[in-house]
Symmetry: C2
Subunit: 459 residues, 2 copies
């Protein structure tokens, strides 16, 4: 109650002091949409691929599209952990995937084996504060629909992490229809696994639940974290992406048996779900009062390539790290703008806190900043640096320079001239390569010195 | 300092009030020796096998041997967790092995894979209080030599869990010579892995370090937890037990290439290390002031069988759960006594607390009791029940009745007449089977209601 009162007071003050229009009296709703392995160029509006995303294109036309936006890790779990905590994976301690594929993808677990497996026993450190915690404290109704991927023991699940509602899969990935992986079913409602929806395509289920969440909470500020498993390949490990026939048929010129066709179809099906969600916001008269963000969790895994970027998911090339990003907030952001400002997923947490007029958590180092003034064109991005680390691979971006290093070699690129990372400039600019290596080392020292948390930190 | 003063005061009081001889003025040293997979009948003094354990036999002659003594789990980690915490595995949350073999024993990890593996990320919940914590607080110098098996991230290692000294392997099992498993080296000194001793047989190393610990701490009360990896099969998974040639030659009538020969030889090598430790206690004049306990962590894994017991490690038969147990404390226990009292490893923690005159941890439920008066013949064992659970398999012992149940079937045995569990009495005594099933259910309810802890509990 205390926090809801605070929100009321804050917005009363905002009204009186800042003269916002009536629409801003209520704290804005927030819809944060995250897709899974959708490549940087895989939006129709970008125009390099024949992919159909009319609703995301609409979002881009009605808001801001960022072209210089990065995930914090080139695969799922740590990237999503940063979105949820506002912290580098190396700071929150969840700097690798929570899954069981260390030894063999093919193994089918017994229930007893699975209960002891990393997917059940590991997760985001319960001490970490999520954006759900912060917005819930600020009086929001908070919901997670879709891929959670922060651990599946009860202590790790959304209802214990600042969310009022959860429908989705707890683990890193599922088969779109059976909702299984490694032979284990992983669709939850709240804290309990449910088999009620077995056989229905996951995107349809997430659409249904997202609409339900919006309907149920339309009269109060709400935060919906809508994390699709699409267009990730089906995590039954038996093939590529799964997509409903109806969406495959939207690509009549493509071979329906080709993997790329089902990938495109999975994106289009997700896009249609997003379209229905946008329509529902319109129907409830909420579009003006709702900040909608969209991004992918990491680079594309190779479906049709990530051109003009080099590399894909799991690499330190731009193709692994740079992701599509859209933001729409009719009252606060311009429409149809494309920005090339240097931004990352670390900015999402502080931005949502700012948008909600909420209070950031005390004694927690956040690694980003409020990006709304940057998207609004009122401010240059204060970000000049970003760092990545994955299983011994390291990367740094400082201004437009990009440095990548592995145990075997290192390279240097000038992204201003060479977004495709084709020309290694290490030998012509050794001093810059050395500076970036130094910056990486300084960052790494900072991460190592942070309060130790998370399952993967050796503390 | 405070706690050391307390010890002094307590023992001054003991002196004044209870009239103990001079030898009891100082808190007793404690040496707790645990062997690995040594079967119930695998002591020379038992006489059923031609196995050479002269020093353990001496320990039995100079102390008490228990024949009705149980581990809390039929394999390593949870059994050792109970010894260290005094709590059922299902209560402290560590109720399965911490290892990486869920999928494949054969996999060799890269350093990066291993850093993310269960062996590194799981361990005894740091909130659990170990016997090291309690004795350290009581002014003891505390040391672990050998197999730790409670997790290998720094937060799980002995120096963070109430021990002043650690030399040994952090994980569940190693190759006796390379000290590797899954291709990863696992010998630690303190918090740091050391390769200084690669190539030397583990038992020799543990002997060296145990003697060093006793030498270094002989002038103050010390607690040494000496946990051999012998005679476990070599955890390189390439063969059976490894044993030095010199000990294999002690069995001239046996085929040196036979697995059983190297098993016997590994036991005898361990026995010789124990003999040297006992001799060192004698040399320092400490034998009278030292409580020495010896037990195996679970039943034998099948080397020559566990006759007269049925089954082996990993089963709920007596052969998986009943273990050899010896205790020597010249001032307080009789010599050469064999007791058939019903006792378990849950009794070790309270017994050591009592022997040390220490204070048990507050607000922690301990599942056992001080067994010293029982071993001393001054009291009957208060234990009438014991329960076990492992991956869906359940067992209960109530008085002399033993009930075993798996998803497929259940059996009932009268251990007073049938220690070999050959005659299932379920149909002739259905009411007793039902009573034991009820007792198990009541115990299980209690475990489920305990404060949730540990990596394996879904809380």
């Amino acid at each position: 109650m205390k926090s809801r009162r605070l929100v009321t007071v804050l917005f009363a003050l905002a009204c009186l002091g800042l003269g916002y229009a009536r629409a801003a009296v209520r704290a804005p709703n927030i819809v944060l949409i995250v897709s899974d392995d959708q490549g940087y160029p895989d939006l129709g509006i970008i125009g390099t691929k024949p992919i159909l995303t009319p609703h995301l294109d609409r979002l881009a036309r009605e808001g801001v599209r960022a072209t210089n936006f990065y995930a914090t890790w080139p695969a799922c779990t740590p990237s999503r952990g940063s979105i949820l905590t506002g912290r580098y994976p190396q700071r929150n301690g969840l700097y690798d995937n929570v899954r069981n594929d260390l030894v063999s993808y093919k193994h089918r677990y017994t229930a007893e084996e699975y209960a002891l497996s990393p997917e059940m026993t590991l997760g985001l450190d319960p001490k970490e504060i999520t954006i759900g915690n912060v917005l819930q404290s600020a009086g929001y109704r908070t919901g997670v629909v879709g891929k959670w991927d922060m651990g599946q023991a009860k202590r790790f699940l959304p209802l214990q992490r600042g969310f009022d509602f959860f429908y989705g899969h707890g683990n890193n990935g599922i088969d779109y229809y059976t909702h299984e992986r490694y032979g284990i079913h992983s669709m939850f409602r709240g804290n309990v696994r449910t088999q009620a929806d077995v056989g229905t395509y996951a995107t349809e289920l997430f659409k249904r639940e997202a609409l339900r969440f919006v309907d149920d909470n339309r009269r109060q500020p709400f935060f919906l974290y809508l994390a699709f498993n699409a267009p990730h390949f089906a995590s039954n490990f038996e093939g590529g992406v799964q997509a409903p026939e109806a969406f495959v048929r939207r690509y009549p010129d493509m071979d329906p048996k080709e993997r790329l066709t089902s990938y495109y179809a999975a994106v289009t099906c997700m896009d249609e779900a997003i379209g229905e969600l946008l329509a529902r916001l319109d129907q409830h008269g909420l579009a003006q009062d709702t900040l909608v963000l969209f991004l992918s969790d990491n680079g594309g895994s190779g479906n049709g390539g990530n051109h003009p970027l080099r590399g894909a998911k799991m690499t330190m090339w731009e193709g692994g790290l740079r992701v599509p990003f859209l933001a729409r907030w009719p009252n606060r952001l311009p429409a149809g703008v494309v920005t090339n400002e240097f931004l990352t997923a670390l900015e999402i947490f502080p931005s949502l806190v700012a948008a909600a007029g909420a209070t950031p958590p005390e004694n927690v180092v956040l690694d980003g900043f409020d990006l709304l003034p940057v998207l609004g064109g009122r401010k240059k991005s204060p970000r000049t640096e970003m760092f990545w680390e994955r299983r011994g691979e390291r990367a740094a971006r400082v201004d437009n320079w990009k440095w990548i290093s592995s145990p075997k070699d290192s390279s240097l690129f000038d992204l201003a001239k060479d977004i495709g990372e084709t020309s290694d400039l290490t030998s012509s600019h050794p001093e810059i390569a050395a500076r970036l290596a130094d910056r990486f080392a300084a960052w790494k020292k900072l991460m190592d010195a942070t309060e130790p948390r998370g399952p993967f930190r050796d503390y």
